[in-house]
């Protein structure tokens, strides 16, 4: 049985506005990069992001000088914002790969204009994710011990440690994502190079384009490599995010020790990652005047993805409560009771409302196409997802097996500074992508235009 969601769009609704031509899309998208002065909104956005990035630098300096005692983490809640936000950021990044790689494999037409936004988002979010565990280390300067390098200690990294799983996953994921992004953007860089007016830009984009001439053989190779990388990336992101789930599932802590957390986290990644892509797409669409290329078709498709993701997440939430109820563990039951009625309860209930209840509005076609509503729903999802990670990490540690060792967690100013700072890092990187790289895949949009013509 299949369910068709009425979109309100006609069945042959154009993915791209009909008057967009092969030439105009190249010129439009390239001109955003080649423009001599960035628009005012870019400078405002970049300025705010950069100010937040400075908050991160100050926060890290203060943290590294004084140690993680400046945060609210303590015994029993030894994992605080840093770990919750690590999961949160990696979920956002994973969402980018899901949109970009998985929907490349399914040949979804809406993916072609949004994939670059998704990949830029993921490359901006992944460093934030990577920074969190490093900041969380007691001796952050020694994080390189996680590399299996030839050392004089005579020991290798402990492969049974979740810290090492995280490290291996993240490093593989970031390296693969960089190559994936670069493989995809190569023809676009050549387009930008060819349209560049100044010598400096020609040299810069000429070097980046690696001598791409657009011959049939080059296209053939590029498409094959890209398809293979997509086929690797799509399952890889599942395993990367599953390992993040295993970090918790492998711990003998009530509320964490459950086999469902790998898919649970993955569902969260679909929802929150797509939500942030929708928000950024709206930003790019209005900021760069790309209403013809990023159409209602795209928002409709991504909103459906969010809806599906939030339904899957709802399923995971049901199991989250079913597990403790069905099982015989007193600690599991107590922890879950504390989670939903204890000091984390406001965040717990808000998170459920924001991530699975409110997104149900997306059943309505007009909501899926209304950008203001999408913006509100998506920001709600991202905040809700942050709360979910927060509740998940804090509550279990606060209500472990020994009631005598229960505790609470109060974030300090520096906890919030770390959050604000990584948002600054994320946005700074994204604004740089926006300024210096074609934010819409020119080559793939041109392919879509050809397909539209032949319809």
């Amino acid at each position: 049985m299949s369910i068709t969601l009425p979109s309100g769009l006609s069945p042959d609704a154009p993915v791209i506005a009909p008057h967009v031509t092969l030439t105009s899309v190249s010129e439009e998208v390239s001109s955003r990069v080649l423009i001599d002065r960035a628009p005012l909104w870019w400078w405002v956005g970049f300025g705010i992001s950069f100010a937040l990035l400075i908050v991160l630098v100050v926060q890290m300096a203060w943290l590294f000088i004084n140690g993680i005692g400046v945060w609210g983490v303590d015994i029993p809640v030894a994992w605080g914002f840093a770990i919750a936000e690590y999961v949160w950021w990696i979920a956002l990044a994973s969402g980018g790969t899901i949109v970009s790689a998985l929907f490349f494999l399914t040949r979804s037409p809406w993916r072609s204009a949004t994939n670059r936004i998704a990949e830029s988002m993921l490359l901006s979010a992944a460093p934030c994710a990577g920074l969190m565990p490093i900041m969380h280390l007691g001796r952050p300067g020694l994080f390189y011990w996680l590399f299996p390098y030839s050392n004089v200690m005579g020991v290798w990294p402990q492969p049974r440690s979740p810290l090492w799983w995280d490290f291996i996953c993240l490093i593989c994921y970031i390296i693969m994502s960089v190559f994936y992004y670069y493989t995809g953007i190569l023809p676009d860089l050549a387009t930008v190079r060819d349209l560049a007016q100044t010598k400096r830009k020609r040299i810069l984009y000429g070097i980046l384009a690696l001598g791409w001439r657009g011959s049939a053989a080059e296209w053939q190779n590029q498409r094959v490599v890209y398809a293979i990388m997509s086929a690797i990336m799509a399952p890889m992101v599942v395993s990367v995010h599953s390992v993040v789930g295993l970090d918790f599932a492998a711990g003998l802590t009530p509320g964490w020790h459950d086999t469902q957390f790998s898919p649970y986290f993955y569902f969260g990644a679909i929802v929150s990652g797509t939500a942030v892509i929708v928000m950024l797409t709206i930003l790019v669409r209005w900021g760069y005047n790309l209403q013809d290329v990023l159409t209602e078709y795209h928002f409709n498709a991504m909103a459906k993805l969010i809806l599906v993701g939030s339904l899957m997440l709802m399923y995971a939430y049901v199991w989250e409560s079913f597990g403790p109820m069905y099982g015989s563990g007193v600690a599991e039951k107590t922890e879950y009771y504390q989670r939903i009625f204890g000091f984390t309860s406001p965040a717990f209930w808000a998170e459920k409302v924001l991530t699975v209840v409110i997104p149900q509005l997306l059943w309505f076609p007009f909501v899926r196409r209304n950008q203001l509503l999408l913006l509100l729903i998506c920001s709600g999802i991202i905040v809700g997802m942050w709360q979910e990670r927060y509740v998940f990490v804090i509550s279990s540690l606060a209500h472990n097996y020994m009631p005598s060792s229960w505790g609470v967690f109060y974030p300090t100013f520096w906890d919030w500074a770390a959050l604000a700072g990584t948002i600054g890092l994320f946005l700074t990187l994204f604004f740089l992508f926006l300024r210096f790289a074609p934010i819409v895949s020119i080559a793939e949009v041109r392919e879509i235009i050809e397909q539209e013509k032949s319809k």
């Binding site: 004089v152 005579g154 040299i203 690696l210 001598g211």
Partner: protein, 216 residues
């Protein structure tokens, strides 16, 4: 005019090869730099207030290690000899040697001599001499040919990998307990095997390389 001539390929290839070579050099450096003598300070003899010669006192005169390092069997530190120990002999021999002036001054002022450390371990490593002596690890296993040293020099890297090489496989480094302080001891056909000594001294390797053995 074209910005990129065919020669641009040359630069690109050179850059790529250069990057690979740089990476290879870096890997090599990570492997090599820590083990060069300058960093390990192997065979390096620090300046001492008195140029004490183990060669003369141990191999020449036949003093036992424990005559001066009195606490080695009972304490984590081997113990440096007190001025009084030096004076058991040097109140009689070489009484006026200029070389021994700091020794006499120390005795007169009742301030211990300040020797310079040759073997430095970080504070997070808890090394215990007594347990090693008790389990039949000879002095020279770590201190090298101490009986032949004119000035005391560092004989081992003291890297953790070196510690672990023995903690993971102690048998070749064990000797009968009564031979622990013999500076020129050699294994003979009649010496019990390392495995036999391990069994004899209850040396169990299964937890000998646990973190907590050295880092508490």
């Amino acid at each position: 005019m074209a910005i990129f001539t065919p020669r641009a390929n040359l630069f690109m290839n050179a850059a790529l090869i250069g990057a690979v070579l740089l990476g290879a050099c870096l890997l090599l450096a990570i492997r090599v730099v820590p083990v060069i003598g300058y960093n390990t300070q192997e065979r390096f003899a620090p300046e001492q207030p008195i140029p004490f010669s183990h060669k003369h006192h141990v191999s020449g005169l036949g003093l036992d290690c424990r005559y001066c390092h009195t606490k080695v069997e009972t304490s984590s530190s081997a113990g440096m000899p007190s001025t009084a120990i030096c004076m058991t002999c040097h109140s009689q021999v070489w009484r006026n040697a200029a070389m021994l002036a700091p020794d006499r001054q120390s005795l007169a002022e009742n301030i211990p001599l300040r020797w310079n450390r040759v073997y430095t371990l970080p504070d997070y490593v808890f090394f215990d001499h007594s347990i090693h002596i008790a389990k039949g690890v000879g002095c020279t296993e770590c201190h090298g040919p101490i009986g032949d040293m004119d000035l005391t020099w560092k004989a081992r890297t003291l890297y953790m990998s070196w510690c672990l090489s023995c903690h993971r496989d102690p048998a070749p480094h064990l000797r009968p307990r009564d031979q622990v302080t013999t500076p020129d001891w050699r294994r003979t056909p009649s010496t019990p095997s390392g495995e036999a000594l391990m069994a004899d001294y209850h040396v169990h390797t299964e937890n000998l390389s646990d973190c907590g053995v050295c880092h508490r």
